[in-house]
């Protein structure tokens, strides 16, 4: 599957004019993905980008790989067919908070629990961009939009918690203004064997400008973001002086020296769940990085192995033995 020629980021740029609004966070995400694709060394011909509908779902057009811009919310379902039918392909899904968590929530849930080996990028801008600014399932309660003039009355999903609740084997978060972190996260996700879910905090300059500024803004982010690095202590802060210490189910903001070491591979996803809700505690940072990375058999592998096993046991079937089977009788 891997191609020996050395691929560059440019190889993954398509000839299509990119049509997001100037300043949209999607540009940076595209860039990062193109870099990671080059680094993975998987040929363009063996790579497929699948998306639903939304600004973010225009993604496949900008990749010089195979691509499928499907219908709203259904990218995981189409990708399931693609990956199961041809497990050799490297399959990516680009989706939005509306596409992936509103209309497409069920397909997302099921692809995660089935653990297909795909990489899912959820562009979370807490708004419906393409349809011009309605609230989404990740919009904070109270957000005023065209359809919530008195403020949204929905309690939002936490995409990380949702993915964990679906038993996902790889769950991570990154944000659009940190190319390095995105690249690192995307690469880990792509290399993970199984369904990888990555939430990306993405700015929509038009309909929800600055929605993540309180945590990702250059001025505050060192103190407001905690990068979960498997096997590393949970340290953050401009001076890397702060840490998170786990006690029971509680997290405590501590000095760097007392920080607990982050284990993304724990058998239970409870620690990841705790982390995903950490920022609801006053004074706690907002976690990014890898929440969970465990291994489990992939759907497409087991599917293929059952077919192989059946063939091995009874021989490959032909139309003749399909038709001339069961109780037959002759009429002369």
């Amino acid at each position: 599957m891997a191609d020996t020629t050395t691929l560059t980021k440019k190889d993954f740029k398509s000839d299509q004019e990119v049509r997001w609004c100037p300043g949209c966070g999607d540009y940076a995400i595209l860039n990062a993905v193109q870099s990671v694709c080059a680094r993975l060394g998987i040929a363009r011909k063996d790579t497929v980008f699948v998306s639903g509908i939304g600004c973010s779902s225009r993604f496949p057009y900008y990749m010089s790989t195979y691509g499928f811009h499907t219908i709203h919310g259904r990218a995981p379902a189409i990708a399931t067919g693609i990956k199961t039918a041809n497990p050799d392909l490297s399959v990516w899904i680009a989706t939005g908070d509306g596409d992936g968590l509103s209309i497409g929530g069920n397909h997302l849930a099921h692809i995660l629990r089935r653990n297909l080996d795909v990489t899912i990028l959820l562009f979370n801008n807490q708004v419906y961009g393409l349809t011009k600014g309605q609230y989404s399932p990740t919009s904070p309660t109270g957000q005023r939009t065209k359809t919530s003039p008195m403020g949204s009355i929905d309690r939002p999903f936490n995409p990380i918690g949702f993915a964990l609740g679906c038993n996902a084997t790889f769950v991570a978060r990154t944000y659009d203004t940190n190319i390095k972190h995105m690249e690192r996260t995307f690469e880990a996700a792509a290399r993970h064997k199984g369904a990888s879910f990555v939430e990306i905090y993405q700015n929509c300059v038009i309909f929800n400008d600055g929605c993540f500024d309180d945590v990702v803004d250059k001025g505050v982010r060192d103190d407001r973001l905690l990068d979960l690095v498997p096997g590393e202590p949970m340290v953050y802060g401009a001076g890397r002086d702060k840490g998170i210490k786990v006690e029971g189910f509680e997290t405590i903001v501590s000095g760097a020296e007392d920080a607990s070491v982050w284990d993304a591979a724990a058998a239970s996803s409870a620690p990841a769940f705790t982390m995903s809700m950490m920022d609801e505690n006053p004074g706690h940072p907002n976690p990014i990085g890898v929440f969970r990375a465990v291994s489990a058999p992939t759907y497409e592998e087991v599917s293929a192995s059952q077919v192989a096993e059946a063939i091995e046991a009874d021989g490959a079937g032909t139309i003749r033995d399909l038709v001339y089977a069961g109780e037959t009788w002759e009429v002369a």
Partner: protein, 622 residues
């Protein structure tokens, strides 16, 4: 086949051309097995046959109640037949509920075999029957044979190692034995089957065999019949046969269709009555390389199939009406991306959840028109259980040759019905191998995903193919390049191109042939499962001295060429449909100047040939 010693051979043996039996009992009574065994044996002795199980409504109702009744009707004959028959000659009723539910259908003068052992006060109450019908005169006009099968089977298996409960479970084989005697059938095929089925519990096999033999040899009961019958072998076309059910034939056809195209079959499906068994059957054929995906819902099922087709498999999806409704958005995507896709709709009673276990043909207009935008999809329909095999292959052919979704309609009546299937010459099956784009090197011309071949189909390049990387999707495509295009003229061009492509399928389908006179007063036109009934009705008319012609339409969209001329040869065209006249509506829209007479029946069950015969004489007398 050795013949069994014949008890009661002193009784008169009467030849019959065609017999219809209905076995009816509680869900737990094993009536489906009984019916199926009788069918297999009849097949083995060379009868033509057709069967129709009648499952109880979705949930297993409490034992002995009317909703819990399970029925199995079969028609076996020495002549060519096409339906399981209008009214049974014989009704086997294992309990009062079975009798109450089915007696109305029995032919006047028909035979009722009632298991008196299950006609206690308690049984009557469960069935909500006030007075024991075996004891008042409510069964006047029928010949009633009363047998305490419970007792008989207990006697026959007296001393067996089985528990009382297990002994009672052999009742259906006692009954079967009795019927085998009545119709002079051999026991061996069933004995063989039992031994195989209970290979691990020989005592069960033997107990059932003993029970069956007891029924076969019950001289005192035989007396009551005053005679037994023989239905000689039918003159069937020479060949190898097997009994096949509709959904099974569809499954085999879909797998074969993919293989004929040189593609891997990928079925994305979500269980739904009466389509589920296609998925179940295909899931059992893994050694044919079939990949089945039980999806989270119908939308995911069709989407996965589209995804699989994108990679070069032959994507398929199977469902029933409500599932089709859910798939309609994705079907539009299929139209737009122009990938092969076979969509099977095993129709059931509607609207909404409707009558899930009953049959109907009311999804035709949905199939032809039920999508947003101009989204043409070819539609064809299965005529009978075995026809499912050919139709499935034909659906695959169209999908692959024209790069298009195809809708294949079947219905609940076909799905569960069975008939003998003369097995096809495998080497003579149509071949329509799919062609993929070859990899292209650096300097080669750019792959144009929306360029067109001789059938207006677009070229298929699958992931893994170097140099043909491209993007597809549901937004309007630019002709040739396939890039997104909002251009007005291009849109119109593409709308017309998709329409032309689908209409162009006409070039590959024959004008259906008229059975009977090629012109005249009346043509009975049918589609789908009315096929057999219409032929039966026409034959009955012919026997009664009235020649009527019939026409069966396999392809419903596009309509085949030549129909206008053909219709012109008839004064009237009668269209019986299990809906409110959907094909009639389509035909009127296309050929406004013919005299179409819509003949609707929407009762969740097939037409009786009598109904059609009567309608024909109504029309011709006018």
């Amino acid at each position: 086949m050795t013949t069994t010693t014949e008890p009661g051979s002193d009784l008169p043996l009467q030849k019959q051309e065609r017999v219809v039996i209905r076995f009816a009992g509680d869900s737990g009574d094993g009536m489906q097995i009984t019916g199926n065994q009788f069918t297999s044996t009849s097949a083995a002795v060379g009868n033509d046959l057709a069967t129709l199980p009648d499952f109880p409504a979705e949930i297993r109702a409490p034992a002995g109640t009317r909703p819990g009744v399970s029925g199995f009707q079969l028609c076996f004959s020495s002549i060519d037949i096409h339906t399981p028959g209008d009214n049974p000659d014989v009704l086997v009723a294992m309990n009062p509920a079975a009798l109450a539910v089915n007696i109305g259908d029995l032919k006047t003068g028909g035979v009722v075999i009632a298991n008196t052992g299950n006609f206690t006060e308690k049984d009557l109450k469960k069935a909500r029957v006030e007075v024991n019908p075996l004891e008042d005169d409510s069964l006047e006009g029928y010949r009633v044979i009363k047998v305490d099968i419970n007792k008989r089977v207990a006697e026959a298996l007296d001393g067996s190692s089985l528990s009382t409960k297990e002994v009672q479970r052999c009742k259906n084989f006692y009954t079967l034995g009795l019927m085998y005697w009545l119709y002079s059938r051999p026991l061996e095929p069933t004995e063989e089957w039992l031994r195989k089925k209970f290979a691990k519990r020989a005592e069960l096999a033997e107990a059932n065999i003993t029970a069956m033999r007891a029924g076969f040899a019950a001289g005192d009961i035989h007396e009551m019949f005053q005679g037994r019958f023989e239905v000689p072998a039918a003159e069937l076309t020479a060949g190898t046969y097997r009994k096949i059910m509709g959904n099974q034939a569809l499954a085999l056809g879909l797998i074969s269709g993919a293989e004929l195209a040189g593609l891997k079959a990928f079925l994305g499906s979500y269980p739904i009555t009466p389509a589920s068994s296609i998925l179940e059957t295909m899931a059992s054929f893994k050694r044919h390389g079939v990949v089945t995906f039980q999806a989270e819902d119908e939308i995911a099922a069709i989407c996965a199939a589209i995804g699989a087709s994108f990679t070069g498999s032959l994507g398929m999806t199977t469902t029933s009406g409500p599932g089709i409704a859910l798939k309609s958005e994705a079907m539009g995507l299929g139209v737009c991306v122009e990938l092969p896709l076979v969509i099977v709709n095993v129709q059931r009673g509607g609207p909404s959840t409707g009558l899930p276990t009953k049959t109907e043909q009311a999804d035709l207009l949905q199939a032809v028109f039920g999508r947003n935008g101009e989204a043409p999809i070819p539609v064809l329909a299965v005529a009978s259980p075995s026809d499912g095999f050919d139709c499935a292959i034909e659906a695959c052919r169209i999908a692959v040759e024209y790069m298009t979704p195809v809708i294949l309609l079947s219905d609940g009546y076909i799905a569960n019905g069975a008939e003998p299937w003369r097995l096809p010459d495998v080497d003579a099956l149509p071949s329509f191998e799919a062609r993929f784009e070859a990899p292209r090197g650096e300097g080669a011309a750019k792959y144009m995903p929306y360029s067109r071949g001789q059938r207006d189909e677009r070229p298929w390049a699958v992931p893994g193919t170097e140099g043909a990387e491209h993007r597809v999707g549901g937004l309007e495509k630019e002709h040739l390049s396939g890039e997104i295009s909002y251009d007005a003229e291009n849109h119109e061009f593409m709308v017309l191109k998709r329409q032309e492509k689908v209409m162009g399928i006409r070039a590959s389908i024959p004008t259906p042939t008229v059975r009977g006179p090629q012109g005249g007063d009346l043509l009975i036109l049918g589609w789908g499962s009315t096929y057999g009934t219409i032929i039966d009705a026409a034959d009955r008319c012919a026997r009664a001295g009235t020649q009527v012609s019939t026409l069966h339409m396999r392809h419903l969209w596009p309509l085949p060429d030549g129909l206008d001329e053909l219709f012109g040869r008839f004064k009237a065209i009668l269209i019986p449909e299990i809906n409110l006249g959907q094909l009639a509506r389509i035909l009127r829209g296309e050929y406004p100047h013919h005299n179409f007479i819509s003949f609707p029946k929407v009762q969740g069950r097939p037409f009786l040939s009598t109904e059609i015969v009567e309608k024909v004489s109504d029309i011709l007398e006018r």
